[in-house]
Symmetry: C2
Subunit: 264 residues, 2 copies
Amino acid sequence: MGISGNEIKRIRSLAQKKYRDSLGLFTVEGEKMVGEALASSFTVEEVYRRDEIGEEAMSRISMLASPSPVLAVVRKPENLALPQDCAGDFFGDKGFYMGLDTIRDPGNLGTILRIADWFGVDGILATEDTVDIFNPKVVQATMGAIFRVRFRYTVLPDAIRTLLKNGGRAYGTFMDGENIYTSGFGTGKDYPVMVITGNEADGISEEVESLVSARLAIPSYPAGRHGSESLNAAVASAIAVAEFRRRAMLQAACKPGMPFDFQE
Amino acid sequence: MGISGNEIKRIRSLAQKKYRDSLGLFTVEGEKMVGEALASSFTVEEVYRRDEIGEEAMSRISMLASPSPVLAVVRKPENLALPQDCAGDFFGDKGFYMGLDTIRDPGNLGTILRIADWFGVDGILATEDTVDIFNPKVVQATMGAIFRVRFRYTVLPDAIRTLLKNGGRAYGTFMDGENIYTSGFGTGKDYPVMVITGNEADGISEEVESLVSARLAIPSYPAGRHGSESLNAAVASAIAVAEFRRRAMLQAACKPGMPFDFQE
């Protein structure tokens, strides 16, 4: 089995969002990722193996510096946009969500999906100008989490308003916020909860900032020392999400007889 | 002021480690980074501004997809290798260190330096096959932390042996380790301390694993659930370092009259 020049051209075009959108396809690479795609609810349209199409063709269709032995072309879900009047259905009563206020770096978005998967986050809502989740660099950085995490694009401020109306809380991380460790964050009485991560350069937008229940900060050490101006966006979100889950585990340990996952 | 073809070629060559090593130079880009280089103890040899050399020349010397308005050529420190018999001097009595057991991804190394800077880590020791710290992708991802964090390459197992001989502790993060939140990690009685991060694909090497004082794990949520197989290496190191510092702050708060930074 070979591969035609036109097929190569079509697959290469999937590096660009406009062709992913018009063809409704995206690519995943590597044995692990292709295996996860095949095991997922996504439809795998084509699988190309280096052993079949040859090393040169593989390096032409691969988006990686070192082409992996296998690449799959996968069907994209039709539409990841969450209409405003569906936000209420997105949030469960006791869910823990992440909000992304315009993440631009593909590696960051992929890493955030991996974090959400590890910590059992119930869903991610991102502004519409967040980088495309099917960008090959995002897909590869998720290490498979893309096939497991609930993710939608939406008008984030409107979704936060819905969350607040449902009795939930929204927390953002800021440089000059309240110490996350001594704040009321993650005490478990404020579900549904969203932790919002801001843009790599500009942080959280003014509109979103005006909506948050509390402005949190991850303290530098020693407190008040500012060597780095900030933490990387994915790293800051990871520390906030880990802290939320740490507190949930502490609380569960304090409630004998309750199931470990005290959200149930 | 213009720039010659030979100069362009020389600067472009600094994308490769062999030319950085032979010329003893590396590049930094962007107003913020160049400003930090100028303010640091590093020697800035040359500064190129788009306004002076023109957009086309700038895009030829830049290693970035979107060339920034300014690029500096900076002198590399002579030698970042830490000889085995100097490891004792590297570790202070009360210091908090990071060990990198072969970090290959430039973005991860840059992010780890930024984490170390934020959390006031006293130094980083990396295996000699960790990616070059002067790789342009590392430099840019540090967001300036490269000019502030103590960093050396060394034979990591030997350095850990020295740390242990000095009465210190070394902790590694593993998938199946002890829950970091319920472990004795970061109780402050075990300085000098090192937190070791393993390779992106293979984790911590067997030799280093045989030396660690405890094998720690960042619990997924709910505990035992394994959606993602792991966290990104930089993310895992960030959560471990943040947890160590959180405990140090808690302890400081329990000791009225002590300076905030209880290591002093």
